[in-house]
C-alpha cells in the first residue's frame, strides 16, 4: 500500500511583516455588503513579492496560514505585479488582517501596519467573517 509521505512533512514557516493598506475596490464591495462574497474575496488576500513567494514554495493563488502572537488566519497569497521589499506582505485592512493585530497598545493605537507573522502554505480553507468572530 502506498504511503502519502507528504502529509507527514510540515510546510516550512517564514517570518514576514504584514503591512495593511486601503483598497478602493474592496472598500466599495464591503460598503455594499460586508458579509458578501466579493468583500471576502477582496479582503482575505496577502500580496507578496513574486520571487520571494517562489522561494517560499508558495504558488500564486495558493492558501497560506498567517500566525501572529495574537491570532492566525488563512488567506490567499498572490504575486505582486511589482518588485516588493523582501520579508513584507501587504493585506487590505479588513477583519482578516485584524485577526493578526495585537490588542496591546501604549498609545491607544493598535499596530495595524507593522505586524510580525509567520507564513506557511496551508491546505485549510478561508473562513468567513462570521466564522472569524465565532472562532
Amino acid at each position: 500500500m502506498a504511503v502519502n509521505v507528504g502529509k507527514f512533512i510540515r510546510s516550512p514557516e517564514y517570518d514576514i511583516t504584514v503591512v495593511t493598506y486601503r483598497d478602493v475596490f474592496q472598500s466599495f464591495a464591503c460598503e455594499e455588503d460586508r458579509n458578501g462574497k466579493e468583500c471576502e474575496q477582496l479582503s482575505a488576500v496577502i500580496v507578496l513579492d513574486a520571487t520571494e513567494m517562489k522561494h517560499m514554495g508558495v504558488q500564486d493563488g495558493a492558501n497560506v496560514k498567517l500566525t501572529s502572537k495574537w491570532g492566525s488566519i488563512v488567506v490567499k497569497a498572490v504575486f505582486s505585479p511589482r518588485e516588493e521589499q523582501k520579508g513584507i506582505g501587504f493585506m487590505v485592512n479588513s477583519l482578516w488582517s485584524n485577526a493578526l493585530v495585537s490588542d496591546e497598545t501604549t498609545d491607544g493605537i493598535p499596530e495595524f501596519k507593522n505586524i510580525k507573522v509567520k507564513i506557511k502554505v496551508s491546505n485549510e480553507t478561508i473562513i468567513s467573517n462570521k466564522e472569524i468572530l465565532s472562532s
Binding site: 511583516t17 503591512v19 493598506y21 486601503r22 483598497d23 478602493v24 475596490f25 472598500s27 466599495f28 464591503c30 460598503e31 455594499e32 455588503d33 460586508r34 458579509n35 458578501g36 495574537w70 491570532g71 505582486s80 511589482r82 516588493e84 521589499q85 513584507i88 501587504f90 485592512n93 479588513s94 477583519l95 485584524n98 485577526a99 493585530v101 495585537s102 490588542d103 497598545t105 501604549t106 498609545d107 491607544g108 493605537i109 493598535p110 499596530e111 495595524f112 501596519k113 507593522n114 467573517n129 462570521k130 472569524i132 468572530l133
Partner: protein, 416 residues
Amino acid sequence: MTETVTWTCTGCALLCEDIQVSIGDNRIEQVEHACIKGRARILGCNEKAIPTVNGVNAKIDDAIKDAARILMEAKNPLLYGWSNSTNEAQMAGIELARTLGCVIDSTSSFCQGITINEILNGTIPTCTLDEVREKADVMVFWGADPMSSHPRHMSKYSYFPRGELRQRGYEDDRTAISIDVWQSRTAKICKNGFHRIPPGKDIEFMRGLIDALSGRVPKLSFDYDVKRILELAATLKKAEFGVIFAGLGLVYSIKEDIALLSEFMSALNQFCSFSLIPMAGHFNMRGFNHNLHEKTGHIYRVKFDDGGAISGVKYSVIEQIKSGADAVLVVGSDPIASLPVSISRRLKDIPIILIDPCMNLTSQVADVTIPCSTSGIEVGGTAVRMDGKNMDITSLVQGDNMSDEMIIRRIIEEVE
C-alpha cells in the same frame, strides 16, 4: 418630475461639493462626477438596519427606551463612532456623554486624531484644499494613497488642477512625491519621485530629512541612497507653497513621536512655506474633533466627570473596551469589523447599542439596533472637511428613519 441638484458628497472627508444628482419621485435616478466611493455612499448598503432588542424585531420606541435603560444601568458606558454623523448629531452625542458623565471617543482615536490634535493646538501649520488647488507647487504624499482612499483628491485639488498660480498644473508647475512602503496607486502617478522605506522607519527617514535640510549628511540604519534624501531635501526647500498629505502610513509609524512631526514642519518652514493636511477618512471625522475641542478643549478620548472633562489614553476606545466599558453605544461605525479581532471578542461580551442605517458585523452582536437615516443622503446638516473647512450637507431624498441626532436626543430625554 425629475429635478437635478448640486450635492456635497459624504463618501469621504473630501466632501466634494460638485456632484450632480437627478432626483425623481423621491428616488435618485442619476449621479454625475462622483467617484467610486461616492457612488457606494449613494447606492447605500444591501441590508438596511431594522429596530431590534436582544436580536428580536422591536418597535423603534421600545428600542430607544431599552438603549436608554442599558446606558443608565451601566456604571461606565462608552459612546463611540461619530465620524459618519453630522456636526449636529455629534454635538447631541457630546451632550449625552455629559448627561451620563461617561466616556466619549471617535474613530479618530486610532486614525488621524493625533495629527488633528497638533493642528488644533497650533503646533503644526495647515492650509485649505482650496489653497492647495490654487497655489501648491510641491506636495508630499507620506504614507498616503489618495487614489485608493480619496479618489478625487489629486484631480480636484492637489496634483492635476490648473490652479490660479499653477496654470501648468502637473505638467510643469507641480511636483508630487510619494514616501511609502510600497509603490501605491498614488506613488505610480507621482512623477517626481517615489521613496520606498521599510515599515516603521518613517521616524528615521524624517530625522534623516531634517538633517539633510540643515545640510548634514543623514545616517540611516537601512539600505538607502543618501544622495536621494539630499536631493529630496533640496526639492522641498525650493517650495513656494508646499504641503504634506499625512496618511495612516505616517500616523501609525510616528504615533507617540508626534512631536517629531512638528519639528520636521518647523525645519521645513525655516527655508520655505510648508503646511500639513491629515488625510481623514470618514466624511466628518474631523468634525467630531472640532466639536469636542470646542466643548472641552480635548479632541477625543474624553471622560465627563463632576462637571469637568478629562482626556487620556485610558479613555481611548481600545483601552475602554479592554478594561473599562460595561456598555457601548456605537453611532455610525462598525467596530467589530474595524478593531483588532482580539478586542472585538471582548466587545461582544459588553452590551452594545448600535445606531446605524445598515446591518453590519456589529449589528449581528448588538443587544439593541436602532436604524437611522443616512447622513448626507436622507438627512442634512453640517460637517468639517479634512482640511478643517466647514461645509453644508444637504439631503437628497426623504428616508423612513429618524436621524441619528433625533435618536440621540430621544435617548437624552429618557436618561434625564
